[in-house]
């Protein structure tokens, strides 16, 4: 099967790759662009470990084809920090021990950042429902929810 040439923007950089029409965006990020931050936990859109944003919209990159990335703007966990300055969510996740094994963390950070951009003042319930598509098996979510809510509060105070 002939390969498709895709040009897209990832974390602000213009990149291109060749992909099989069957390969997912997640496959392309990980295998063609060496961006292994997004993880494949299920491949069926149930676990959220592969969360990225495409043109500002939160998606499971395992449910999107690489070919569909043509001309899009993609943000992954690797683009959350500003150079060597961590995003407040990243900092708070470390301080609050909001990760144990860390496999879900990239997806949860991408999803949480997306939440706070849309809703800077989420309730606990809103936070829990927004992150319901991101499975974590280690933490019971307690410290994750606290870290997201506290970051939201700090970002509101700072603005």
């Amino acid at each position: 099967m002939s390969k498709l040439h895709v040009t897209t923007t990832v974390n602000g950089d213009e990149v291109d790759f060749l992909c099989d029409p069957r390969e997912t965006l997640l496959d392309c990020l990980r295998d063609k662009l060496n961006l292994t931050g997004a993880k494949e936990g299920c491949g069926t859109g149930d676990c959220g470990a592969c969360s990225v944003t495409v043109d500002g919209r939160l998606v499971c990159s395992c449910l999107m084809l690489g070919a569909e990335a043509e001309g899009k703007t993609i943000e992954t966990v690797e683009g959350i920090a500003d150079g060597d300055v961590l995003h407040p969510l990243q900092q708070k996740f470390i301080e609050h021990a909001a990760l144990q094994c860390g496999i879900c963390t990239p997806g949860i950070l991408v999803a949480a950042k997306s939440l706070l951009e849309k809703n800077p003042n989420p309730t606990e319930e809103e936070t829990r429902y927004w992150l319901a598509g991101n499975l974590c098996r280690c933490t019971g979510y307690d410290k994750i929810i606290r870290a997201v809510m506290e970051t939201a509060e700090e970002l509101r105070e700072a603005s």
């Binding site: 292994t36 931050g37 494949e40 470390i94 144990q100 860390g102 936070t127 098996r137 410290k143």
Partner: protein
Amino acid sequence: MALDDRKTDFTFVGTRPNRPDGLDKVTGRAKFGADMSAPGMLHGAILRSPHAHARIVKIDTSKAEALKDVKAVVTRADFADVPFKPGLAGEFWNVLENVMAGEKALYDGHAVAAVAATSALAARDALKLIEVEYEVLPHVTDVDKAMAPDAPVIREGAADYSVPEGMHPNVVRYHESGHGDVDAGFAEADLVLEDSFVTEATHQGYIEPHACLGLLGNDGKGELWCTTQGHWIAQKTCAALLGIETSQLRVTASEIGGGFGGKTTVFIEPVALALSRKANRPVKLVMTRSEVFRATGPTASASMDIKIGMKKDGTITAARGEFRLQGGAFPGAPGDMTAMCAFAAYNLTNVKQIGYDVMANRPKQAAYRAPGAPMGAFAVESVIDEMCNKLGLDPIEVRLKNAAHEGTKASYGPRYERIGLVETLEAAKAHPHYSAPLKPGQGRGVSCGFWFNHGGETSVTLALSEDGSAQLMVGTPDIGGSRASMALMAAEVLGIPYENIRVTVADTATLGYNDVSHGSRVTYASGLATIKAARHAVEKLCERAAAKWDIPVEAVKWENGCAVPSGPNAGDFDPMPLADITAKMGRTGGPISGHFEATPEGAGVSFGTHIVDAEVDPETGKTTITRYTVIQDAGKAIHPTYVEGQFQGGAAQGIGWALNEEYIYGEDGRLQNSIFLDYRIPVASDLPMIDTVIVEVPNPGHPFGVRGVGETGIVPPLAAIANAVSNAAGVRMKQLPMSPPRILAALKDNG
């Protein structure tokens, strides 16, 4: 260990610094199992049986091998000829048979062949060209049916010496223990209650599927990168299955994306190495989620009968339990563990427990957090709760009345040293949660839980650098923040800041054998070894200072990171900081390191008590957990935030097990729910905040008092939630999970 050897005042231990791997894990650069690649790498894929039980008549791989993208195809013939032995004595054979089927496919999802190709897509395409001829055999997936006289025999000769004559060949191990006279005890009781309980198999549900990258040459030398809880066991097992020398295979553990017991063995690792040996190129293998559910170890499923006698004042006069556990098509279901843990929280005069390990046509069970204990606790603690209801007694008071304490002869044999069960019950009784009012439709449940904890073979090396920093090499993969606790313990002994210590999970070529990160052993055993390795280095630091000062080494003590003259020489010299000694170590005798290796035996058993409030919707049968409190003895919490994390994670997994999660097999013996959409683990919106209380009753077997905390937290939830749900619904729930249809059916039966 003498009590006066135990430290109680701490500088670093008990603080909550940021974890050393935090930055890597929030920026996406941490390397997990599937994140590694190698030059010339091929991609593997595994063909799996669609049948629950079938004789493999013929495998034709010729069409797949003819594809130009395919570089190797392997079947069972490409592995070593490992001898078969009954029971767990033949564990290498059992693992090999599970890794790649021999004469029969034994469960839906059992591997039968594998390919390596130039891309993952090509490998998957090639699988479709492998032709397998099966002769389908009768199958059985239920534990009670697997023990029945007419059950299909999975494998003759698998039972070991422990199984009494006359049992079905699917019963492969038998355990019986206890003390006293249970019949006499039941005769003394005012109330005797007997009931039966069932739990379904659940999966550990780690979010990271199994993944590895293997390279093996025809010279018998290899490299393996894999996500594992124990790379030495992976090394040993892979070597045995491939017929190479253990030391010729170097195994490196990746960051691990959750394990919970499920990554304590191998599945795809020997297959990647076999493919690599045939193709003479590195091979990467990554499981799909469906493969994880179908072919890696879930828990055992269980069927249990409990009988307890109680006096009107709540004193338990006798207890008897029979626990039948199904662990897939291989020996290993922890019927013995279930039996030994079931009554371990109580000080009983008369107790008897029997456990069965039963085979069925399901994947080989693997450990899952306190393997076997949660099921038994569910059954026993449900009966105790029902008896409290019938006798009008407070459930915590009854547990306090019967609680095991120091000196109690445990139900499984030994006498307890200092334990913290009573302290957790007292803390539960005093907790505001226990006296908070309940709303209509809500119920409250409590339960105790027990786990042995484990020591295990452990080897640690600590090396000091010239600038006074330290590198610590441990052999236990970090599954929940253990690198932070190791650095805290080393800092405590050396007296240098936490940040100046770099902890690395060393590969198998760098350290001696280390047992798996399981049994809640890491903070206990690797921690103990870290402390002793650091003390070993401190001895050498003191020797260098003594030589410099020209005083006896006995006259040098170590204080706050400095060698200090003491005794008759006190005050003779200024304290000499660690960095001053290491700066000159090359000229004063050479590099300074500390080392420790042993199999520590004083793990210290652990108890917890959980309080749960649940609300049951009588129209839908849906249960909502409205409040949850975990109280557990940690001995000494090295990094309290990560101890809380273990408590919360155990509770959350317990909530899933109690309410939602189960392996569902069809009549055809095929797994019906092999993706996360259908096997639903708790999501953020399912759970409340999970409160924690860390009780600290120091373990006499650890220099700082540590008890493992990872596993006990999943033992009480099943029962505590079942008690809360039963109290809310007004009907005793005896089968897990308590999914909405089961609750509705129970409500209907109850009128």
